[in-house]
């Protein structure tokens, strides 16, 4: 045997001998086969990448990451959207002027608008005309509606100066003086309902997220045990060649870390795509008629987004108006005024 190698060639035979010993050629195992030159090699990982157990682990992590991402994303969106809606709605008040016998609703509406405009803290008012009210009711009652046959209230939206404490009692008193059938709504009840609903949604989402994380830990630990059992022969061989427990544990740690990252990227990527295409997906399932455009109306996309609980552009003016519309129009609908 040579000091830097295993063989020396003599008379076409490969022999094994020490440098200080000259032994005859004992082994000629290599003589039968052609030789290949030495070259650099890319070494395979000690723990194989492609195995059924490894694929199962990637799938488990991907699914759990997807679920966790969806839960987290939905909770954050609902929370952020609700906060924005609340701040938007809180900066407005709505005045309804209901038709009553012996009163001209058009005159009452104009008088109320003037009274509200004169109230300190009000920076802008927007009375909805008869045509605009008909337009708002189109999604529920269809087009070509004649409001003359229906006791539809007239709506005035007033914008409150930010940071100003509006004297609501004084405003209510003033409005009642002008039109006894008019009422002022600062949306407080709606905001409270909204706050409790979004709070419950966020808590439920966090609960689901915690459950998903626990399920992920349990699933991954069992999948890892399965993968370890499948790789037991590798552990034994590594012990045979003198590998310590730390070396083996490090190799498997790297292996499972890589599988986990792979699963996480797949699951997280799909969740991102899902959020990216949520508008399109929502439109497939949406039964709400597209429209509601026109005066103060929001686009159909906004409505679809909210049907999924996801708001993509909650800051737009159209949405603010839509919220007002929905609220205002739903009260008479609930009260079976029509």
């Amino acid at each position: 045997m040579t000091r830097d190698g295993w063989c020396c060639t003599r008379d076409g035979f490969i022999s094994m001998s020490r440098t200080d010993q000259q032994l005859g050629p004992l082994v000629d195992l290599a003589r039968e086969r052609p030789q290949v030159p030495a070259k650099a090699r890319n070494l395979s990982p000690i723990v194989p990448r492609g195995s059924i157990a490894g694929s199962a682990l990637v799938a488990v992590v991907a699914i759990m990451t997807f679920l966790a991402s969806m839960t987290t994303g939905t909770v954050l969106l609902v929370s952020a959207s609700a906060a924005e809606w609340q701040s938007e709605v809180a900066s407005e008040i709505t005045i309804q002027v209901r038709p009553s016998p012996g009163h001209d609703i058009e005159r009452d509406a104009a008088a109320v608008a003037e009274a509200v405009r004169a109230q300190p803290g009000i920076v802008d008012i927007r009375p909805f005309s008869r045509e605009e009210s008909a337009k708002l009711l189109e999604p529920w009652l269809g087009s070509g509606l004649s409001l003359d046959e229906l006791p539809v209230p007239r709506v005035i939206v007033a914008r409150v100066q930010p940071g100003t404490a509006l004297d609501l009692e004084a405003l209510r008193h003033r409005v009642k003086q002008v039109s006894p059938s008019a009422s002022v709504d600062d949306h407080r009840a709606w905001i409270e309902r909204m706050r409790s609903m979004t709070g419950a949604t966020v808590i439920a989402g966090i609960g689901i997220l915690v459950l998903v994380i626990i399920a992920t830990i349990i699933s991954v630990s069992f999948a890892t045990r399965g993968a370890m059992a499948a790789n037991r022969p590798i552990v034994e061989v590594l012990h045979f060649v003198g590998a310590g427990d730390r070396f083996i544990a490090n190799r498997f740690l790297r292996h499972f870390l890589r599988l986990g990252l792979e699963g996480g990227i797949i699951g997280g990527g799909i969740a991102m795509l899902f959020f990216g295409f949520s508008e399109s997906i929502a439109s497939w399932f949406s039964g709400t008629p597209v429209g509601l455009s026109g005066t103060g109306g929001a686009g159909g996309a906004d409505r679809r987004n909210h049907s999924l609980g996801v708001a993509t552009d909650p800051a737009c003016d159209a949405q603010r108006n839509r919220l007002t519309e929905q609220y205002v129009l739903q009260i008479p609908l609930r009260q079976k005024t029509f």
């Binding site: 045997m1 094994m16 650099a40 000690i46 003198g242």
Partner: protein, 219 residues
Amino acid sequence: MVRFENVGLRYGLGPEILRDLNFEIPAHSFQFLTGPSGAGKTSLLKLLFLSLRPTRGLVNLFGHDVSLLGKDQIADLRKRIGIVLQDFRLLDHMTTYENVALPFRVIGRQESSYRKEVIDLLRWVGLGDRMDALPPILSGGEKQRAAIARAVISRPHLLLADEPTGNVDPTLGRRLLRLFIELNRSGTAVIIATHDMALMDQYDARRLVLHQGRLHIYE
């Protein structure tokens, strides 16, 4: 190098399958370990490889009392022992080259530092053109040679071989025996466990015979 004193081994609460073993394995020695099937040859090899701990007695390996060794020290001692098992234990996802080079990867050597050494050894055992082949497509003899190459690549002080010629024809068996003799001449103590009398008759070496759990030594 290896010393057993009054060593006994039993599995669980079963009978003692190795009893009162007293022997030494000197450095650079060559011996056959033989005996009928079930005599405990593989168990004795496991004791020598530190896969098992004796139920009683003293095992001294490379100057260390194995009963006092921790896991890391056992792993270090195993680096000085090469083992060839009956079922080869090659990793199927690695090429022949990678399997043989595994002991070097375990100790953290760079591939460039051992490449020539591994290729020389593979050529020496006749696997020069099978370096990139995966074990499932190797013949039994090729697997056996790859397993032997992996066991000797790190130039162990002690080589343990369990029925190394059990899966090969007599001709290849003789050639593998010559390979072990060469290794022994290069300084490795060799213990070959076999019940192949024909193989043992080919080389005059010390014989350790296990019979009914006891060891009889024929110098």
